[in-house]
Amino acid sequence: MTSNPLRKLLFDEKIRSIWIQALIVGLFAFLVYTVSQTTAYNLEKRGIGTGFEFLQMSAGYDISFSLIDFTSKDTHLRAYFVGVLNTLLVSVTGIFLATILGFLVGVIRLSSNWLFRNIAYVYVEFTRNVPVLLQIILWYSILIHLPKVKQAVQFLEYFYLTNRGLYSPSPIFLEGFRFVAWSFVIAIIFTSFLKKYLKKKQNITGNQYPIFYINSAIIIFTPILIFYIMGMPMEFSHPVIKGFNFQGGMVLRPEFMGMLLGLSIYTAAFISETVRSGIMAVSKGQREASQALGLKSNFIMRLIIIPQALRVIIPPLTSQYLNLTKNSSLGIAIGYSDLVHGFGGISLNQTGKAIEIMLIVMVTYLIMSLTISLLMNIYNRTVQFKGNA
């Protein structure tokens, strides 16, 4: 019976799986073939060519906010890089702010004070359950309806808040400042070696050293010392009202601030939940045992609770970082010149190369997502439980 080849074709799992997969591959290939045929036909009918030559053509539009020089004569390729940089800028600063705020709110949520933790709870519920796009638009409309330049809100002497953005002094680095910068880098490298050495010494002798304070002092004071030795090689350019606008200083545009506030306040609510559940996941016995050992409360937090909580926190935190980066694509709604707005929107409309441009944009986001995942996985490996030995 079992040797009947026809029966085997139907009922032997290995053989069956081969023809099922062959069938699916065939169907898929057929689908791709027909779709590409129709697409080619449709493109030809509309007179749209294919190919990536358009990247070298002049873009013909201006970008209001750019980290690198850009004029309308520059190429679409350069517009792409402007977009990528702007997306990265708002994502990285957003991740930074959201992490700080999220950890803060997560800890407040666990506060023993009923009122305090419920304020945090209300914040979390209200921001989590309202679309991030709406929050970005709301922040943006608050920012662009601030007072005009003439009636700017002045604070901390040199900062001005207006409907055109936040104006602040900008540093001008003079000759010799690079020594200060280098001393900062060297201080960081030096302290990492010092930390290793002091840990080693602690393991041998049992003496504890205030490593954190020593290293912080070195990192902070070395550059300051060099700064004064070099004769303070830095000046500030202050914003001053001239005519209808400010001159000098630097400015954070409302588009950027709106994106930053919207993204980080929204994501922080989610991060605070992962932080809270991470800390709660550390079993009560751990805290009790460390109290029984006589550890001080900040040591309990730093040496016992946080290392174990991080193992739970990092994976969901990674997906929040990914979400923030993807949500940065909403800049188009308020005119922040990110990848989707400039290259994916205006370049697409001007060239009509929908397929090529959407492909490039999507692949760029995939690369960003993969990079964040990769970095966070590397970090995750360092905090995970190492062996049982």
Partner: protein, 372 residues
């Protein structure tokens, strides 16, 4: 009675003990409590004054009916700062139905009324006649299509006339409903033993999860007409629906995969040993258990999708937020953006908060069910 005695009897009462334990356990705690009270007072009074006490609802402070923004109290008296809710009233029809013809609007109302009934059977498993509710759930999409779009005896209403809450709910509910079967197939495919099938599913899921929804919406909007032969040109709402469904199916598939992974191997092996085929064991043994576990994460991704439907305004559809922005572009109501955005936020909040409470309720229920 001395004051000390009164204090003591209060401190020993239940409320007193609670207060001391939760708000005034030591001086740091007391300080935080006072700071919190001050914060709540400042924010709360500011918001309540703006939204309720100083606000105009239908008439302004002179008692006139508000016909456009020039009648708002804050635009007459510079000293007044309250909200002017009349814009919501004036635009309420659009917020609910978009540009749906007024004489046909009973069809939308009927659909809104039937929607919760169609969901009862899925959300609660201990109701009488649950079977009939489930039948109705499967029937509901056809009824809703007939009512909203039209057909025999009902005049046709093009989707370009739809808007507001109707579009938001349509995209949310239909997207989730269509994504559900697709996501089960994707999750099963990802765990399949067949390498080609599982890698195709992995690539699809990870690709969709790696790119922002807005790029999918753009792609669907610009490229679907290019991919399809002449004569077949899906309208804008349908294009958005395709993008939203594919997007949601990838996220839901991951939620279901989590449920599948939680099923002990012994269940599969026992089912196969009983002589059940792959599909029999999947349908009768694995999926019922796996889906039960994955409902809370499915609800959570659904909340995410429901919020994300607001992105369709970027491709020119008028969902709840899109209608709000359209109202603000109207010269007679311009500049009342806080009123509009707060209202839209509130609507989204009500739906999403309800869903998240439901998901919490399910999680608790699952915990107690499993510990029996």
């Amino acid at each position: 009675m001395t004051t000390a005695a009164i204090n003591n009897s209060f401190l020993r009462s239940k409320a007193g003990i609670w207060l001391r334990k939760n708000l005034f356990s030591n001086w740091v705690n007391t300080f935080i409590t006072l700071l919190s009270l001050y914060f709540i007072w400042e924010v709360g009074s500011f918001f309540l004054n703006w939204a309720i006490f100083d606000a105009d609802f239908l008439v302004n402070f002179r008692g006139e009916e508000i016909l456009d923004r020039t009648y708002c109290s804050k635009n007459i008296e510079p000293g007044l700062h309250g909200a002017c809710w009349a814009i919501i009233d004036a635009r309420f029809y659009q917020f609910m139905y978009g540009f749906y013809p007024a004489e046909e609007v009973w069809r939308v109302n009927l659909t809104f009324f039937l929607l919760p009934i169609s969901l009862v059977g899925i959300f609660f498993d201990k109701i009488p006649y649950r079977k009939f509710f489930i039948y109705f759930t499967f029937l509901f999409p056809f009824i809703a299509y007939y009512l909203l779009y039209g057909g025999p005896t009902l005049s046709q209403v093009g989707t370009n006339k739809w808007g507001g809450l109707l579009v938001t709910l349509f995209l949310g509910v239909t997207g989730i409903g269509l994504a559900f079967p697709l996501s089960i197939l994707l999750a099963l495919g990802r765990r399949s033993q067949m390498p080609i099938i599982s890698s195709m599913c992995v690539i699809f899921i990870e690709f969709i999860r790696g790119v922002p929804l807005i790029t999918l919406l753009f792609t669907a909007n610009v490229m679907l007409p290019l991919f399809l032969p002449d004569g077949i040109s899906p309208d804008n709402l349908l294009r958005a629906l395709v993008a939203v469904t594919l997007f949601q199916s990838a996220y839901m598939a991951e939620a279901i995969r989590g449920g599948l992974q939680a099923i002990p191997r012994g269940q599969v092996e026992a089912a196969r040993a009983m002589g059940l085929s792959y599909w029999q064991s999947t349908r009768k043994i694995i999926l019922p258990q796996a889906l039960r576990i994955s409902i809370p994460p499915i609800v959570n991704t659904s909340i995410g999708l429901f919020k994300d439907t607001s992105l369709v305004l970027i491709i020119g559809l008028f969902d709840l937020l899109g209608i709000g922005r359209a109202a603000l572009a109207d010269m007679s109501w311009i500049k009342l953006y806080y009123e509009v955005y707060v209202f839209v936020s509130l609507v989204f909040f009500i739906f999403c908060f309800a869903m998240s409470r439901y998901s919490l309720y399910l999680e608790k229920k699952l915990k107690t069910d499993n510990s029996k």
